[in-house]
């Protein structure tokens, strides 16, 4: 049997920093999106099954709580996408200097709120 190994990211050891908090947020937003992707799959399935299955889910989505869920989902989506671009750039060894890491981090945070707000305002 394999030896037990420490589990990341040792939240209890390190003081929170922008870098670590954004990394954890990337995972959390990914988990939200994974769950939301399953909801999209359910939405497509009930759509194919017929109106009697579709309407209850549609009513739930139109409810303020449903709209809040969709807003949270879109927020997670925009953040995960923008921060994902940052991760891909790092894989290409772009923007790895600590100053750049912080600059792009703040840029992602501000852009996430602006883009999400603009989308909900426009659509």
């Amino acid at each position: 049997m394999a030896q037990p190994r420490p589990l990341s990211p040792h939240l209890q050891v390190y003081r929170p920093q922008l870098t670590s908090v954004m990394s954890i947020m990337h995972r959390m937003s990914g988990a939200v999106l994974a769950t939301g992707s399953l909801l999209l799959a359910i939405w497509l399935m009930v759509l194919a099954m017929g109106a009697e299955f579709f309407e209850p889910l549609n009513e739930a989505l139109k409810h303020p709580v449903g709209q809040l869920v969709l807003f949270g989902y879109s927020l997670a989506l925009v953040y995960h996408g923008l921060n994902g671009i940052r991760h891909l750039a790092w894989d290409l060894r772009i923007g790895l200097e600590i100053k750049q890491v912080y600059q792009t981090g703040y840029l992602v945070l501000v852009s996430t709120f602006l883009i999400t707000a603009a989308l909900w305002f426009l659509v």
Binding site: S37, M45, A48, F54, S74, G81, H87, R93
Partner: protein
């Protein structure tokens, strides 16, 4: 050259000596699916915001439109594949092996694979491709 590593760098020399560790495939597919999903991200965000306002007839018309159906199919396939890889990484990082990590990984793969197949089948039915 490994994707993202320039020739002659320390990391690429290491990768040349150990070119196909088990995690490499996962890493590569996660990046590949991320790029595909990123290309569809704008559409996905628009979709998330707009589906709440559609009624049944409107939703069917929306999905049955050829370009929407094709984009949705790509989106659920790439998105759910990327989600499965991401969930696997979270499970591997936080669930000890003795607590059933491998079983959880296979369970997650099964759920996301089933969801992807069911989604594409649903789109095909609504769009009357089958």
């Amino acid at each position: 050259m490994v994707f993202g590593l320039s020739k002659g760098s320390n990391l690429s020399r290491v990768s040349k000596n150990y070119p196909r560790e088990a995690g490499y495939g996962h890493w590569r597919w996660q990046r590949f699916s991320a790029v595909i999903t990123l290309l569809l991200m704008g559409y996905f965000t628009y979709l998330m915001i707009s589906i709440g306002s559609l009624d049944y007839a409107g939703a069917r018309t929306f999905v049955a439109t050829l370009h929407q159906g094709i984009a949705l199919s790509f989106l659920v396939a790439a998105g759910l594949f990327h989600a499965a890889l991401g969930v696997q990484m979270i499970i591997e990082d936080y669930v000890p092996l003795a607590s059933g990590r491998v079983t959880l990984v296979f369970l997650a793969r099964g759920i996301f694979c089933t969801a992807a197949l069911a989604s594409v089948a649903s789109i095909s039915l609504v769009a009357e491709w089958i």
